[in-house]
Subunit: 225 residues, 2 copies
Amino acid sequence: MAKIRRAVSEEDKASRRQDILAAAKSVFAENGYHATTIADIARAAGLSYGSIYWYYESKEALFLELMSAEAGALRERIAEAAASAATGATAATTTTAGQPPSPGAEAPFRAAVRATIEFYDADRDLVKLLFRDAFALGESFEEHLARIQGLFVDDTERLVIGLQRQGVMQPGPSRVVAFAITSLIGQLAHRRLVTDDGLSAETLSDFLVDLLLHGLLVQPRSAPA
Amino acid sequence: MAKIRRAVSEEDKASRRQDILAAAKSVFAENGYHATTIADIARAAGLSYGSIYWYYESKEALFLELMSAEAGALRERIAEAAASAATGATAATTTTAGQPPSPGAEAPFRAAVRATIEFYDADRDLVKLLFRDAFALGESFEEHLARIQGLFVDDTERLVIGLQRQGVMQPGPSRVVAFAITSLIGQLAHRRLVTDDGLSAETLSDFLVDLLLHGLLVQPRSAPA
DNA sequence: CCTTGTTGACTGACGCATCAGTCTAGGAAC
DNA sequence: GTTCCTAGACTGATGCGTCAGTCAACAAGG
């Protein structure tokens, strides 16, 4: 195997830990947790099998540290964007055409969403790690699940298009809208498993539909804040 | 092991297949795909190891069939609800674009969302199967990931509460709102990996923010009925 | 500058457990 | 007796984690 320089100084070692983490990230993102082996990570890092264990306790510990580090970086970026939007709030002019001028209070929110999407865009592996979805199960599962979920999106899209045709709903990318709706429902349903927020199915679905149809703001027309 | 009655008739066999599927559903939902073994399923079904292979080709085939069956049942239920809401409301559906929005146009949508949430509520295992999330990785991972995602929700919730305090955003369960926002962003980001819808980060985040703030309808807000 | 000793980063074969899938004996139904 | 289902022992493959050994880097002594 290609020999690598031995890490001697503390900086060397820290950097090697980082290298391993980076290698692990790409491999985990590609194959999912179960399908990646320590050998894969070692290969990607240009190290031998055993060396991984010199730096990390176990496969699990490596994975957990990776997740934490990545999430931390993302949160930091978001906080930055929100903060800088808040300070330069009144001068913010990135409103969308057709929408009423947003009060300055929205600016950090807009900035945070934007920063998140951009961060994800720039780092596809991160998305896979944080929203690992079916990818943890393997290729054929992923396809099968995508197909199944696609059916729900199809159904929803039909409703959306109908509403758009009737002029009730704003024109726009119906597929994306439909996807947003179905995934939002799914995520909230999943959340109910873990967290009991005491909302009945009726309350939750009303909340959801109203959110989707009317949005979260009090008045569509801007009010001075 | 306690012998069970041999399945003789076709109905018997079909019913045994169903039993296995039901057992598999609960075990897969509990432990995730990788962590459940055929032995677990056999035990849950009250059969022996080998019998599972009499009815199913492989673990994978069993899992895929399970997913398809479950998703099919859910879709059927949703379609029913939407259909009955559509007939129950005004039958004006084939209108041309540009007409004033008929009040009943939303009804199928509301009914579909409601039916979905209720279906999920009544079947927690199904939610785990369809939105398998971290659960495919095991208990400790699930907790770790929940904690990490909780941090993002915390951050978002602070923004939401701020907007609510300023009277810009409607009062409501800030935690649920925050969760809806973060998960929606995550899901759309994840979707971008697979499907290239040609939307820039800017377009997408504007779309998202506008959806969340103003909703999808043309008329921003009508008086609550 | 060269030799020798010590440390600890690195290697990779191997032990061991796990588990998907196979095989065959046994027994119920007919 | 024959067919068909059930049981569960068995096999083989896979992969985590270990460990005995190797060797680069550096230090001390000559």
